[in-house]
Symmetry: C2
Subunit: 442 residues, 2 copies
């Protein structure tokens, strides 16, 4: 009953080439695992490539490929949100299953794409869209399917993590490391997507949907990048036993004693986390996602979040899953695109930023004045904000001292109000620097 | 098309009770994800339990349960290899899908059980059998299916890891920590399965099969426990930048330039690993598995390796997978039990212990004699064994000094011969202590 499965790869950039190489290297293992023959019959490319197996048809008309009745699965690795969207929608309408690595497209247009796929009884698989080769989509949609997922926190942008790691390990500035990351090819020429957190926000939107069963809501992700992180704050954090990581965090929020959450937090921002946590020790371009679920508890998934090999691994894992679907008569009951059946998606609101709760690292620049600490702590206390630690550093400017305060979790609107009052004090000479803090407690 | 899926849970110990609790807590989430109703209709228990939902039928005749035509999936959480095996075989013959957490049974009788399941077109799922709630079976069978897995190394026994962690963190002796672990319920009254490595060997046999596509070969796993690890060696390892962890390691071995491995190493033993690796920072009762695959590279999976909640999470993830199978007409093309299709299993031999290759930590007790180090290094050199580091400690006995030597990887038979020669030296006053060492390099 062995079949011959025919694939088309649209796009021959890093990932597309990685998929071709994977099939070339591992075809024997793929057959041993699937029991079927797997062939790339078509690639979609604007320019003819001489280094491709001549048995593979090179075609610049992508629509012709996705309409070709002989092709079983379309792999979209073009990127972007225009052509990629058109070919995916057309592939779906032609009854093709689709595998894509396109996080931006899915985060922003996934609700539409998945709805069309349901209508045409095909699957759109997207393991490669989040955390590269780490199988976090399969883990959360399938392996953790019996759990209620409470929150997750992930290092889901390798460029950002490389920069934060180098700043801490080598005492280098943000700008210095970014320049190197661009030279190494980790960061794009326009690094905004990475360092402003947009790439992480795309991935977080996908993770949150499959964790909580909510529609994709990329537009509601609070997003803060790492461009403002200074070496000074990295150092102070370290003195206090923390590391600053750029995290995507998604959490259900409950009122005391309630089973059903009243809201969901979706946020991407630099975060102080305790240095002895595994997540704090995920360095360089590596990614990792920590998931807290009931009754499983905390689990963590670590690996390469980008690169040809890791991404191709995820793309072909999706293909292997789809082969099982393709080889039964009735396509069967599949894992829902967003992990939960469409009619069970929840309308729990994503909370606005000022309703989110986290701990805080605050750095204040104060005139060397004994009274100021008393004033600041009184203001925090008036807003019900509990202090976890204080670090007063020796003055480095004439007569001015940095004061670092770590707080317990607090509703952000209260912190906003407290900071306004603190900044109004005469003894406070600069804007308060604030970085969120999470103990990552289970 | 929503169906009502009927489960039977055989065994009401920690795990069985955990499964009942999970269904009680998370039924709404399970329905949102699967689209189906899920009910435990029967539990198999010798004694009637008053604390169980009265709608669940309590039954002491397990065979009657597995023959009941209304039951869709049988969950075996009895443990042991006698009754558990009988009921699983009978369930299979009655066309039931089976979920089991029974690592010992599968490692020792899995080839027979899986063959019967193939014959009857049913699935035997076993996510809970290895590393508790960490979804390592699904990850390796499905998420990494496009890779060629080269090697894996795992902390797959929580009790052993708790003991090793406490010895290092708190300078406690093996015996002292073991007594506490027994009091805390981490270790059984008879701790042999844990501390002698048998439990880890069971799990490693399963992991190796799905990594490499070989039949289960528990009897060929080289197995060494942690009972001989002394505080002295833990301390010396730390001074050299290593931690001692009890690992299960499975690796393909290649001759230079060959694509196809000539043999497979399966071994469970204490291992020095570099302290900056994530695996070295997996502490307490936690488990983690590091997998090295092509083209994915290194990925790591971390979480609770035991306990009611984590195990129930894995059991019910299997149930969720089986529900998708149950709800299609034709049971379809499933993930092969051992990840590779039965006819593609490989007969690559498991290498005997003396043909395995690892680095070594050697501790020699020598008379304070300048010549002895020259003699020892000459012997190692004669056997082609490369030294990576030497640490000579001040004498703690009158005139005797411990000498620590770290070596690069070497075939074990050579090391055996070298150690014999070293022990024959007049200046060497005790048996050479040896612990394997792995840099965990990709």
């Amino acid at each position: 009953m062995s079949k011959s499965i025919k694939l088309a790869v649209l796009g021959l950039g890093t990932v597309g080439t990685g998929v071709l190489n994977l099939l070339n290297d591992n075809l024997a293992e793929l057959k041993r695992r699937s029991g079927h023959d797997i062939t790339i019959t078509h690639v979609g490319t604007r320019r003819h490539r001489d280094d491709i197996d001549p048995n593979i048809c090179q075609e610049s008309d992508l629509m012709a490929i996705v309409r070709n009745p002989n092709i079983d699965i379309v792999i979209e690795v073009i990127g972007g949100q225009t052509v990629a969207k058109e070919v995916i929608l057309e592939a779906i309408k032609n009854g093709k299953h689709v595998v894509t690595a396109n996080k931006a497209l899915l985060a922003e247009h996934g609700n539409e794409i998945f709805a069309l796929a349901e209508q045409y009884h095909v699957h759109v698989a997207y393991e490669a869209a989040v955390a590269g080769g780490i199988p976090i989509i399969k883990v959360m949609r399938e392996a953790l399917a019996a759990n209620k997922i409470d929150w997750l926190a992930g290092i889901i942008n390798g460029t950002g993590n490389f920069i934060m790691t180098e700043m801490r390990d080598k005492g280098r500035t943000f700008e210095d490391v970014l320049t190197e990351a661009q030279a190494l090819g980790y960061a794009e020429a326009d690094p905004t997507f990475d360092v402003a957190g947009i790439d992480a926000a795309h991935k977080l939107a996908l993770l949150a949907s499959i964790a909580f069963g909510i529609p994709l809501q990329f537009d509601k992700v609070y997003c803060e990048g790492i461009t403002d992180i200074t070496l000074q704050d990295v150092t102070y954090a370290q003195e206090l036993g923390y590391r600053i990581k750029h995290l995507g965090i998604a959490a259900r929020r409950y009122h005391d004693g309630q089973q059903k959450e009243y809201g969901i937090e979706l946020r991407v921002h630099p975060t102080l986390i305790p240095e002895d946590k595994l997540l704090a020790n995920v360095n360089g371009v590596k990614n990792a996602v920590l998931v807290n679920a009931h009754p499983l508890g905390a689990t963590l998934y670590y690996g390469d979040g980008a690169g040809a090999g890791a991404t191709a691994s995820a793309v072909m894992a999706d293909v292997m899953d789809l082969i099982r679907v393709l080889t039964v008569e009735n396509h069967g009951h599949h894992v829902p695109h967003l992990a939960f059946i469409p009619e069970a998606l929840s309308d729990t609101p994503v909370l606005p930023a000022d309703q989110m709760q986290t701990g805080y690292y605050l750095r204040l620049q104060a005139k060397d004045n004994l009274g100021v600490l008393a004033d600041v702590t009184r203001i925090l206390s008036d807003f019900g904000i509990n202090i976890d630690a204080i670090l007063q550093k020796p003055a480095h400017k004439q007569g001015e001292v940095p004061v670092i305060i770590l707080t317990l979790p607090v509703i952000e609107s209260k912190m906003n109000d407290a900071i306004k009052k603190i900044e109004a004090l005469d003894a406070i000479t600069a804007k308060v620097v604030r970085i969120r803090l999470d103990e990552l407690a289970s």
